[in-house]
Symmetry: none
Subunit: 243 residues, 3 copies
């Protein structure tokens, strides 16, 4: 009797349709994922139209930011690149800037885990949206920035460090005290959306998928943009958007 | 009885399912080849995080570098482009720089086969990885650089020359003597991977394939990154990577 | 007994297999066309490796260049863009530059039909090959440059003019007399191939096809690169090339 491979699939009489279904499912699995979890939905975009020292948004995280690794992503558009410092993300506990992301005045992008930062030479942000991610792991110290799915050169940064919990997450301003002392010259002006935070380092493939199809292979388990509660202060518009 | 092969699929009464399977097999054949010989495996990336005069990696070649033609490829990311000289690859015998690849301080990329070099005006390297190849043939003198699968203008260079065997292959530093006299201001800072060397000139199609799918149509027969032994000195991190 | 192969598809009563075959043909139609008329053949590339006032190539046209319309195409790579004037194509009768194509010292590309030229602001040429075409019609005066299949803005130029026959076609140098008075500072340095000339204005679709697949929908009836006779003088290398 015939040995040999694939033929054993075709044996029984009428489970044909079952196999057709399996095949269809299999073939579907080969298609590029354009939907996935929330892929094509409308979603909210925060617009900070003007420079102020009082407009900001407080985000309530899913769980405390006690982190020894993270992936932080966002889509951001700003015309301020290279003109002055611009705050992109701030997480602050009473006495420390725990996880702050900046555009530096020289155009580099950086993040700071209490103390000196780590700097990346990336293509300039612009009026068009850029997908930015930052990854860091305490165990290896490997830190990277990701622009539209492409990874920068790794830096070795803050090996062994832990980000402290029970702070406040703010978009639009850099709080120099627990929630105040804002500087208009560091405020964010532009659009920001899809700010998600995981407590682990996602793979290159997952980050490419986030950029290309907005697929969330792993639910963001620290900040989840789609479900997050926002408290808006000052001049911030919430606009809807087609991805 | 049936001989193994696709025909066994089409045997039974209403062989619809056989055809579906054949269709599936056929459709699979249309998918872009991302595997091939080593395509999707994890592979090692060398990270030189900081400028030093003591960090380097010695690679043991498969066979001596007695060459009258070559293809040398690598994937490289560096933010130093155009700021100073940067060594990308060094193969040195006791008295000669046999095959050295440089970023020049004016941003051009060059290679040197003992003596004056040959220079290419290429798009700048960046924090994102660029696939670089260099080809040269003693019989024609044709020398070229390849960026992400695209060839530069040919140069005529060192017709009749032979690269001498029994030297040392070094990444990260330029040895001004057999294995020493390193200059931090010429050291490599960044990431480098997929350094492969053949003793012949690959075709344009093969080089495009290397860039796009990481397919090694011809096994690298002089330096084979995947199998090579590395001796690491100083501050060099080996990180894993998904292509 | 069954012989292995695809033939089992085409046998049986119901026309399942017919539909499968149609599907297969349909799917094949979705594959990118890489062949076409001459698509994958080797072809000659002229390499002018250094600046001289004596290296050039004379091309014998298929018929005299008595033209009231034309499409002139070429693939060209040069690193001289924007550094000095560079001649790309010269057709001269005893007293006139009948059809000369230039890179100007300010980086613009131009052509001249005896007298003042017409100028185009195009992306810079580089060490990688650019597909360039120029079209002009005496009846409308419409002149355009085409870069990798994309048309520039039209200019109105030399309405009613006729290009005179019985001159000489030269690559590499600009003849200031019938065939002499070459200036090294205007010579071509780089690679040039696929120089074809028609006595009519090709459609946008045809020009895109030329760029993408190297398909010659209409045989070039004035200069036909593939069949043309070349007389080479000075330092000019003829290298083979895979498109």
């Amino acid at each position: 009797q015939a040995v040999c491979g694939l033929e054993t699939i075709g044996v029984h009489k009428d489970d044909v349709q079952g196999k057709m279904l399996m095949l269809a499912v299999f073939l579907l699995g080969l298609l590029p994922m354009t939907s996935g979890f929330g892929g094509l939905d409308l979603d909210k975009v925060l617009l900070f139209p003007t420079q102020t020292n009082y407009s900001y948004v407080k985000i309530t995280p899913v769980k405390p930011l006690s982190l020894t690794a993270f992936t932080l992503c966002m889509r951001v558009a700003t015309e301020l690149q290279g003109k002055r410092e611009v705050i992109l993300f701030a997480y602050r506990t009473p006495y420390f800037d725990e996880l702050n992301v900046w555009i530096e005045s020289d155009g580099r992008i950086s993040f700071y885990l209490s103390g000196d930062g780590v700097f990346f030479n990336l293509p300039p942000l612009s009026t068009f949206r850029t997908h930015l991610c930052f990854t860091w792991s305490s165990s290896t110290g490997l830190a990277a920035a990701w622009v539209n799915g492409q990874r920068s050169i790794y830096r070795i940064y803050r090996k062994g460090h832990t980000i402290r919990p029970n702070g406040i997450v703010v978009l639009g301003q850099d709080p120099d005290s627990f929630l105040g002392d804002f500087d208009a010259e560091q405020s964010f002006v532009g659009e920001i959306t899809d700010v998600n935070l995981w407590d682990e380092v996602l793979t290159a493939k997952d980050i490419k998928g986030l950029y290309s199809h907005n697929t969330l292979v792993y639910m963001p388990n620290v900040i989840h943009w789609r479900g997050a509660e926002f408290d808006k202060y000052g001049i911030v518009e919430e606009v809807k958007d087609y991805i």
